[in-house]
């Protein structure tokens, strides 16, 4: 959507949208790009300690051209239950420098592990295909649409305030959606901890939400049009100097808020 169209849609009244034509069905997202997952037990090298260990649940993309995978994921502890499975943390793996990829049994030059751990963490939403088939069409949440939408929103770099996608893979049993990891949890947890926010803090988060909810580019563009000082721009990475490789976390939605009686 170009800039003017974004402004037009952000400022349109309900009446204007109504008069734009009869209601329509939502459009389909493009089909997701899903790699073929290979889940193995592998020997993994830790360059920090020079130790090697045999670890289960290493997942990587088995590329159809036989080329070496870009990265692997060592799937770890469960973070949260999800409708179609669960969310787990992962350690991102890379192939050891000098290793020759010949398939799952690959080893480093001179023998030893093909994989080594990196400092990077990820999260993976693991969805059981049996549950997906059982519940699809009967549950409002659609895991295939979710990965399609995530990839769609990551087109052209995506938004700093929408959790991106690293890899989507599948095997006969599971659909794996790998995402950046964050260690700070849900904003809900901050409200629970603090009771409520001061207005400056609420404003800090709310501005990011405006960016999250609609368009990553709109607010920046609109801000510049209105000659708002740079610090109003909602891109927290620019605002706070957070590097691009910052980690995000993944949890899934399980409603936990119940209405309390007002004081």
């Amino acid at each position: 959507m170009d800039d003017l169209a974004q402004l037009m849609n952000a400022s349109a009244s309900h009446q204007e949208v109504t008069e734009n034509g009869p209601p329509a069905q939502p459009l389909q997202f493009p089909p997701p790009t899903v790699g073929r997952a290979h889940r193995v037990t592998a020997i993994v090298h830790n360059p920090a300690t020079s130790e090697e260990a045999q670890v289960p649940n290493v997942v990587y993309e088995a590329r159809s051209d036989g080329a070496a995978p870009v990265r692997g994921y060592w799937i770890g502890r469960k973070l949260k239950k999800a409708i179609y499975g669960c969310v787990r943390s992962c350690t991102v793996l890379r192939l050891r420098p000098g290793s020759t990829w010949t398939g799952p049994e690959s080893g480093a030059a001179g023998g030893g592990a093909a994989w080594e751990v990196t400092p990077e963490m990820a999260a993976v939403k693991i969805m059981d295909w049996n549950l997906v088939r059982d519940l699809r069409g009967r549950h409002m949440e659609d895991p295939v649409k979710e990965v399609s939408a995530m990839q769609y929103l990551c087109t052209d770099g995506g938004s700093p305030n929408v959790l991106g996608t690293l890899d989507v893979m599948s095997d006969e049993q599971y659909l794996y959606s790998f995402m950046p990891f964050c260690s700070c949890g849900e904003l809900f947890g901050y409200v629970e901890r603090d009771g409520r926010f001061s207005e400056p803090v609420a404003r800090f988060w709310f501005r990011q939400l405006l960016n999250v909810s609609f368009s990553s580019f709109l607010f920046e563009m609109y801000s510049s049009i209105r000659s708002i000082p740079t610090f109003y721009i909602l891109d927290a990475q620019h605002l706070l100097g957070i590097p691009n490789h910052c980690n995000l976390s993944l949890t899934c939605s399980i409603p936990t808020f119940s209405v309390s009686n007002p004081p």
Binding site: D2, H14, V17, L27, L187, F197, F206, I242, V259
Partner: protein
Amino acid sequence: MGVSHRDISLENVLVDQMTKAAIIDLGMCLRVPFGADDGSIVDATKGTLRRLISPQGQCGKPNYISPEVHLNTEPFDGFAIDVWACGIILFIMLVGLPPFEWANRDDPRFRMITKGGLALMLNQWNRPVSNEAGDLLQRMLREDPKERLSLMEVMDHPWVINDDASAPPPQPDDEWRK
């Protein structure tokens, strides 16, 4: 990108490095239809105005569902339902409680807020907010989406453009989050 999330909530906003918000859980989102000059339906890339969406069923978390999605009888604006949910989030951030369980007229708190009594209700709760915050919340939480603020009006609101925004102060128990 022309997407309506339909499930915006505090539980679906993650925090990174104490300061960066990222939204998750797109499993209920919709790709909003846009109208072309010839009357056909196109996507957001064509630079046209969006259309209303035919009812798609109730979805989202109870506290955050807009009245029109809760009723599920009339076409809805995919942007307006997300504005509603953002209004609920702002309410909870400022007040510490959700305004009501469901957005329907059986709930007395819903009736009070949608009749313009939001500030009065917060005073009765002994949780007052500034006049500007009260005005923004009141106008984001209009029952009729025709009367609700548009995204641009939210972005332009005096409370939003106020200079005074700050990251949450560090807490003693924050260390574990790193």
